[in-house]
């Protein structure tokens, strides 16, 4: 049984006379100890879907209207608020994008680190402080005794993100959800943080769900990838599948949009025209049809079924197989 199974999850936001379908029926799973990525651009619903897992959707206006989120078989969506609290940080911990705003500025690091361990693991203050010290060392913060007494503003962005990781690890969860953990950090610090997360989760056998807009990051760290577009997962496959045999025109477009550091042709970028659709006025057919170069009549009238391209590689595109051959035919990707 997978560690986490998400099935047909739908999270909508209700306005005065509009319904924003932020997450519109997504299905994926994560095995024990596995690193999986959820990739998409802003507004595609990737963060909303991860907040839905932990029951953190502000309601109103948001509401999970359908679907199941099973953690080792238990549907988290059916839990009461107090039962859910026991899963948060104890079973599933989260690392947010903004280390600045996710730490409390008026409480010292020690208190923020020990709080979870005392309530979730029942440690005494002394035990929790000892572990906090170890944790800071583990995440590579030097002089931990002094640092524990400091406040968030005394840490740089990279160091704050290390503190966030220490907090996430503190209750030994089975799954860490990292929502754009390095987006606000400098390039050299990004590499440090991602390497750290990879090493620590591997050592402890924790699963990692990496939510990002950066396909490049994903190539180095994850085993499987889910690509999201306008509220739905449009392609799923192993890292090699996605990069070598992309089977959805959006994935191909994303790959062609990434400026690659190992290519120097000035004209090699091939942007996707247009913009993502308005989530409150989604088309009946394929959400990507309007921007797609491979569009056929059927795309505009009927949302594509998921096509299994290969075992463990699927695409929600009526032309899935031919998209792949088009991509391979481009000399720059040969």
């Amino acid at each position: 049984m997978p560690l986490l199974e998400i099935e047909d999850l739908k999270t909508y936001f209700y306005g005065d006379d509009t319904v924003v379908k932020a997450v519109d029926g997504i299905t994926y799973d994560i095995e024990e100890g596995e690193t999986v990525a959820l990739v998409g651009e802003s507004g595609c619903g990737k963060s909303v879907s991860s907040l839905s897992i932990l029951g953190l959707i502000p309601s109103p206006p948001g509401r999970i209207v359908d679907g199941e989120v099973r953690f080792r078989g238990t549907d988290l969506l059916q839990l009461s608020a107090s039962e859910m609290r026991r899963y948060r940080s104890r079973r599933i911990a989260m690392v947010f994008q903004e280390p600045m705003s996710s730490l409390n500025p008026v409480i010292n690091i020690e208190t923020q680190l020990t709080e979870g361990m005392m309530t979730q693991l029942g440690l005494t203050k002394r035990q929790a402080s000892d572990r906090a010290l170890e944790l800071l060392e583990t995440v590579g913060i030097s002089d931990p005794e002094r640092r524990l007494k400091q406040f968030p503003h005394e840490f740089s962005g990279g160091m704050r993100q290390r503190v966030m990781i220490a907090i996430a690890l503190s209750c030994e969860p089975d799954l860490i959800i990292a929502d754009e953990p390095t987006t606000s950090l400098d390039v050299t610090i990004q590499a440090q943080i991602l390497d750290l997360m990879q090493t620590l989760t591997r050592e402890r056998g924790m699963a990692l769900l990496l939510i990002t807009h950066n396909l490049g990051v994903v190539a180095r760290y994850v085993e499987r990838i889910n690509i999201m577009y306008a509220g739905r997962i449009i392609e799923h496959g192993s890292s090699t599948d996605i990069f070598e045999k992309p089977s959805h025109p959006y994935t191909v477009g994303l790959l062609n949009s990434i400026p690659r550091i190992d290519r120097d042709t000035r004209s090699s970028l091939d942007p996707i025209p247009g913009q993502p659709p308005d989530l409150s006025r989604l088309p009946i057919g394929c959400h990507f049809a309007e921007r797609c170069r491979n569009v056929i009549d059927r795309c505009e009238n009927e949302y594509p079924h998921t096509v299994v391209v290969e075992p463990s590689h699927s695409s929600a595109c009526w032309a899935a197989v031919s998209v792949f051959s088009d991509y391979a035919a481009q000399p720059s990707h040969a």
């Binding site: 651009e41 390039v187 070598e244 949009s257 990434i258 120097d264 942007p271 996707i272």
Partner: protein, 350 residues
């Protein structure tokens, strides 16, 4: 230091644009006082945001300026435009020293030099229509003799950046981030500049929109014969648009090279670390890449390390690096680097 004559030949050989120098930056420093209460004390602490920088920008080229946050790259860009007063040093535009200019001359020059900002949300006045934002510079510099020319020109500019002429009447909140950045570009182009500082113009945008804006900037450069200083923290973005690249660390330029050379064969350990920190979106290539993950964080610019600013994080640092500041020196005809050990190190690029 190179004289400008030998630098001219460099650009020529590498096709890095025209051989004429457009902007010549000489020993430019920008310092900011820090610490409150120190206002009237004699020994005020200062941050050397830009520390004795010399750099040449050739006509028609795109020079990439790369560095992490706090490296001084934005301050340098602003100091070139005189949006930020320099503490020392000078900037020459087509041979004329800008610090000696004033009044009308400076105003004329300002028309030739424009800037595109990073944040398309805060850089457009929410109470002005797109047309008014684009047209404001034309009115100030009296570039449109009558109302009809003005409107026609605004429409042209909107279309030039890939928007519709009818959008002139809309307000910033009605546009997406990518569209706003297009308005920012149209505003810069409205006064027919020769030189544009692009200050992180795509870092606030999504990948697919980023690619659209990069392509637009490249096309406009060729069509209009523009010269760019492209300031960014993302080395892969810079590679796609620049002819030459300058790398900054804590206020100093550490390496300057033609784009292809810099990426294939970096000479400064910091450049090497920056390149190796950026993932290649291809799992097979990634698995084979040699990588160096830098320890530590960029130092505090108010209290920079002695000698080479990079020495506390550099895996190759020696005793000399701790005490002696490396000068930016010529390695071959087209490349400058400030590293004591540049000749003996072999650093692998991508």
């Amino acid at each position: 230091m190179l004289d400008s004559r030998s630098q001219n030949t460099i650009a020529d050989e590498h096709g890095g644009g025209d051989q004429t120098v457009l902007i010549d930056i000489e020993d430019l420093s920008v310092e900011f006082p820090v610490g409150s209460g120190a206002l009237f004390s004699r020994n005020r602490a200062v941050v050397h945001a830009v520390d004795d920088v010399s750099l040449t920008i050739y006509k028609g080229e795109c020079l990439g300026l790369v560095g992490e946050s706090g490296s001084g790259k934005t301050t340098l860009g602003r100091a070139i435009l005189r949006l930020q007063k320099a503490t020392r040093g000078r900037v020459r535009y087509e041979g004329e020293a800008m610090d000696e200019m004033g009044g009308r001359d400076l105003r004329n020059l300002r028309r030739k030099m424009q800037i595109i900002f990073q944040d398309p949300y805060s850089s457009l006045d929410p109470r002005m229509s797109a047309g008014a934002i684009i047209g404001e510079g034309m009115s100030i510099h009296k570039l449109a003799p009558d109302r009809a020319t003005y409107s026609r020109r605004v429409a042209e500019l909107l279309e030039m950046v890939g928007l519709n002429a009818e959008m002139a009447r809309r307000f910033p909140h009605e546009f997406s981030g990518g569209q706003r950045q297009r308005i920012g570009i149209a505003r810069a182009l409205a006064v027919e500049p020769d030189f544009i500082v692009c200050d992180e113009p795509v870092s606030a945008l999504d990948v697919s929109i980023q690619a659209q804006i990069l392509s637009l900037l490249t096309n406009l450069q060729f069509e209009l014969g523009l010269t760019y200083l492209f300031v960014a923290h993302d080395l892969s973005v810079v590679r796609h648009i620049s002819d030459r690249v300058a790398v900054m660390y804590l206020g100093r330029i550490v390496e300057v090279a033609p784009s292809a050379d810099l990426y294939r064969n970096p000479l400064h350990p910091y450049t090497y670390a920056l390149i190796s920190g950026i993932p290649v979106p291809d799992p097979r290539i990634e698995a084979q890449r040699e990588r160096v993950v830098l320890g530590g964080e960029p130092a505090n610019p108010a209290d920079p390390p002695t000698g080479c600013h990079f020495h506390p994080r550099c895996p190759f640092a020696t005793e000399q690096c701790v005490v002696e500041k490396p000068e930016l020196r010529e390695i071959d005809s087209s490349r400058l680097v400030s590293c004591h050990r540049a000749e003996e190190l072999t650093l692998e690029g991508v």
